[in-house]
Symmetry: D2
Subunit: 360 residues, 4 copies
């Protein structure tokens, strides 16, 4: 219950500190008989990796993973899948000047308050490095979803004040991976890239938002009370480092609408003969349960806390100190957060598919 | 795992349909020795109750609860607290015309998709009536928090386009309960009341947002990875009927800031000698763990789906039908959602207090 | 996590003290569409009820239950089933002389040690009255199993030194309910009845063992590591009041055998063409997973702690006191424990059926 | 929920097959600040290791473990402790002749029934090799208990028909580790060693029982209903490979006693002034909660299924085949099961200590 597991029937447990020996993840509850595509998994890891473009931190994390169990001759066996990623480029000395200081808007002080004890090298479990284990687990979940024709696509829709005003239905999401900021609109992508470069030159950082779309979902996923599908997606997203906000469907903007305009009318799709809604303010989820329409949501990320400028703070003794970031950090996490958002969404969707299977 | 329980160490399980015999909740893990103030609990129920003002639905739910177990001579015993609320005013015939129709933006269709089976009387578990059980459990949690001087206060900060622009620090939250819309700014309250009245006259509904502030929290609550304090608060809020969005601290607006402006600098409070931050964009939570500053967040609610106007839809057979709300419904759920937001927040906070106690 | 829930996908939560307002149980995860036979449920309650024969305590517990939710027009809806049983015959004054005394081999002292606080009336949650809620939930689980042709039959196979030496395969289990001690061998039943009568006349109590047989189980239920089917059955049985021991298949006696004699050889049933074993020392479970053969196990129950004789003890202050049972108690719990054993077994089996369904 | 986790607040998840790359365990919920003694941990692993004496299998498993996370400068940090043990001596070809055969009383058939898929090399997750991960986690739990002066000692008390008749109170448990069968009575130990040698020469196997004693426990551990301390200990023990039976305190033999003889009278210890009982048929647990007296229980293990003799069986196609063990196997698992019993007991005790801490 110390919060390092996620999911119910498809359940992952992650472990590992940013500057320890290795990160790892155990997937318990993966169905047997899934043929794993290791190249797909490596590519997912590559998308999250630092140093992949000039936009992001130049820390080198090779992020090569090793599958220790649960897979026999390339196929899942139904037993727990243990996987690890060794840490290779641990410049702990980048952090030694910070041993006793509380970095602003980091977890240093809260860790001391919680554990009375802290590994000061790079954030320990609160480091975004932990998300490598999530992406690895998510790359398994995605393959299960693909078999059911469920596709999850996230993209950057805002960096600072630069916001894509078009909804996902007017974008070509196949362009997301064609630029290093992962924005499917090439013009906006270029502006975002320039903004991040400028912010980086200032030694500063900037936040933004990511949108995510899930297509191909069966109706009936999610539970009607506490484990509503969007509540579980919300928790999943808010558990990602730097996430501050979550909305699905019409979100905050829908709150100023009237019911008569907001309601999604049911109809029968003339081609597929399936139940559809003529609008989708519900974001594919009604009463906490998927209705078969596209699920879409948006996640807000604050600017990275580590800046390469001096800031005033205090240390463990309560004395005033100056802190200044020295390591290799991201000026904007958004591009690297895209695969993390997808991974967490995949974990939630597979879990609810298995839960529904047990009931139906 | 069917999603009717919430919490880890302070864990509630709710049951009951809107038009069944009774609602109920079991609290498992309530510490022994808490003297329960029944008047406080009744008052909390009263705040959520329909019919409390002309703004809200005139359904009569007496919402009198009965404590069946776990309390001896007015004091909790550490054993599970079972409580029920009988349903008295069940006008099931208000729904009989809807037996086979899928009401727009309700859970009718998704229920059929999930269970292959549905109690068509008023929404079953997806009815907001279920939240009575949450408020009842929350009224116990609040009393535990009060012993630790933790106070939770929510208020309506937007109805439709009417938005309070001031932050909570510039409001007098003691005024929240002085008006029927539960907005602490009397002028704005009046405008909101007029807007809701107008919407109601149209047979329509309107959404809005609720802000919530938690003061007096100890630092160290929350877990650093999946069970971040704000992730659990987010799930709690998103599990409330009609909730579409959640943000904490600087939220979505913080995503356009730069790190140098967003970071909260640490300092020592000259009076209390405690660690504080000079700003609070973090919303009292850093790295998923409380830092002792005020926790604040905002929840967006869509307009109620039931409108007293004809809408086109389909029925179970896929035929086109007209549906029109006939029961007694809320034109705006916001005022009644205030105690629900507080109750869910209280459940999360007590749970994390007990979890931290087991570790420290 | 306060231990009042049992099961994973078919999960029950019980509440209520022996001398409180009511007992109750919530079943979360019951599949939709099960038509409930209330007479069957009443009969199960009747089998556990005190006062059903001269052998058992003459306390009157009507044990009439009320279904509050989760059932619509006699059929389960997939939502939580809340059920309560009001306490009617609470002679709390039978216990008033015991307010401060620690009754030998009861939970009085351990409760004080745990909670620092105790409802002294009749044992609170540690009272066997709590098992009424289990039998009620079990009566739902049994109906689900019946649809799959899974039958659970328990019987008394020893009272004191009187032991049935025959294995279940040589007994006619349809005779179990024909006598008040619930032993399928009529001669032995008579001896047991006489022994219990004699023990009762002495104001004393006596223990014994119950055997349980589960037929019709599909192969593949149970998990290979911690949640082995027999480990979950063992926990279920050991959680019943007064249970001290559990063994399945060859049990303790199998531990003195050699592997060559103990191993169950596989064969194909010539009629059904199914895989069988020619012996069944495994008790229908191999590697923690059912193999389709009969599952059988045995549970040992200690003599009831309350005796109608003076015993020396201490009170809360540590002073020496005399205690003497005065209420209406069982001289032997075995006959009434038979339906409890069956109920707990049914809960485990349904849970593992749903878990397997989610995986397969 | 696939059964590879154990515990609530001190929760372990194990992974790894006998013939895969590595075994591993993640401990989530280990309190911060525990200094780990690696030599102690290595010694525990040594006690479980194959090849440690002529009595046991000569498979070489070096069982060297690597700590990947959760420990900084030798001290636990409160974050998850990931540990792995690489498999080095995997003679998979010892099993190749068994690829399609169902070995009698193994999990081969039940695995196929459950997963429709099987890693035929040495049992996969159902192999006793998985217990290495448990012993490793248990060696951490034991160190936490030692800080509280809680000592867990198990020993072999029967092999085949050779049974120690003395209770643990008349034995010198410090002698347990002085002989390779781990029986604290040197004469009996010699007899057991000879019996095992004889059985081994026959290519056969033999079962037995292990007793375990826990001293120094505080009163108040365990929950009164489903999570009774002995129910959790029972599940823990029954989850160990080859375990068939569990009893605590007076166990099965107590079931033939009368209440007047079985009840444990309370008294005050004249020296410590603490509450004690003058006998201990309760085995240190009353109403599911520890009372501060010694906790003791016994676990029965069946003879190992793999024998070096031909046995008739069937294969996947249902054809009759002969199987004959060829690998290096134990003739008697009892000596190596002693540290496994202790490890599982330690996990249960630490978990309940943390649960009680959250409540008290």
């Amino acid at each position: 219950m110390a919060g390092n597991s996620f999911g119910t029937l498809f359940r992952i447990t992650t472990f590992g500190e940013s500057h320890g020996v290795a990160l790892g993840v155990v997937i318990d509850g993966c169905p047997p008989g899934i043929t794993l595509d290791l190249d797909f998994m490596r590519n997912e890891m590559q998308r999250r990796k630092p140093g992949q473009s000039k936009l992001v931190t130049q820390r080198k994390e090779e992020d090569e993973f090793e599958i220790l169990s649960g897979v026999f001759e390339g196929v899942t066996t139904g037993t727990p899948i243990g996987m690890i990623i060794r840490n290779s480029d641990q410049r702990s000395k980048d952090y030694s000047h910070l041993e006793n200081a509380y970095r602003p808007s980091h977890a240093d002080y809260t860790y001391d308050a919680k554990y009375g004890f802290r590994d000061h090298r790079g954030g320990g479990r609160s480091s975004a490095r932990e998300t490598a284990a999530r992406v690895l687990a998510g790359s398994v979940a995605k393959q299960i979803l693909l078999q059911q024709h469920v596709i999850i696509q996230a993209y950057v829709d805002a960096v600072g004040d630069l916001k894509l005003e078009k909804p996902y239905t007017e974008l070509d999401l196949s362009l997301t991976e064609t630029n290093m900021v992962r924005c499917p609109d090439p013009d906006m992508a270029e502006k975002m890239i320039n903004l991040i470069a400028e912010v980086k030159k200032d030694g500063d950082t900037i936040g933004g938002t990511i949108s995510c779309v899930i297509t191909g979902t069966q109706p009936g996923l999610g539970d009607p009370v506490f484990d509503k599908l969007h509540a579980d997606l919300g928790k999943a997203m808010l558990s990602i480092n730097a996430a501050k906000a979550f909305e699905y469907g019409s979100g905050f903007s829908g709150t100023s609408m009237r019911g008569s305009a907001h309601n999604d009318l049911f109809a029968i799709d003339p081609e597929t003969k399936k139940v559809i809604t003529t609008t989708n303010h519900s974001g594919g989820i009604q009463g906490g349960i998927s209705n078969g329409m596209d699920i879409y949501f948006r996640v807000g990320f604050k600017p990275v806390a580590t800046i390469l400028k001096p800031q005033q703070s205090i240390n463990v003794e309560g004395e005033t100190v100056q802190v200044e970031g020295k390591g290799r950090h991201d000026a904007c996490v958004l591009p690297r957060a895209v695969p993390i958002v997808e991974a967490m969404a995949a974990l939630v969707m597979v879990d609810h598919m298995l839960i529904q299977k047990s009931m139906a």
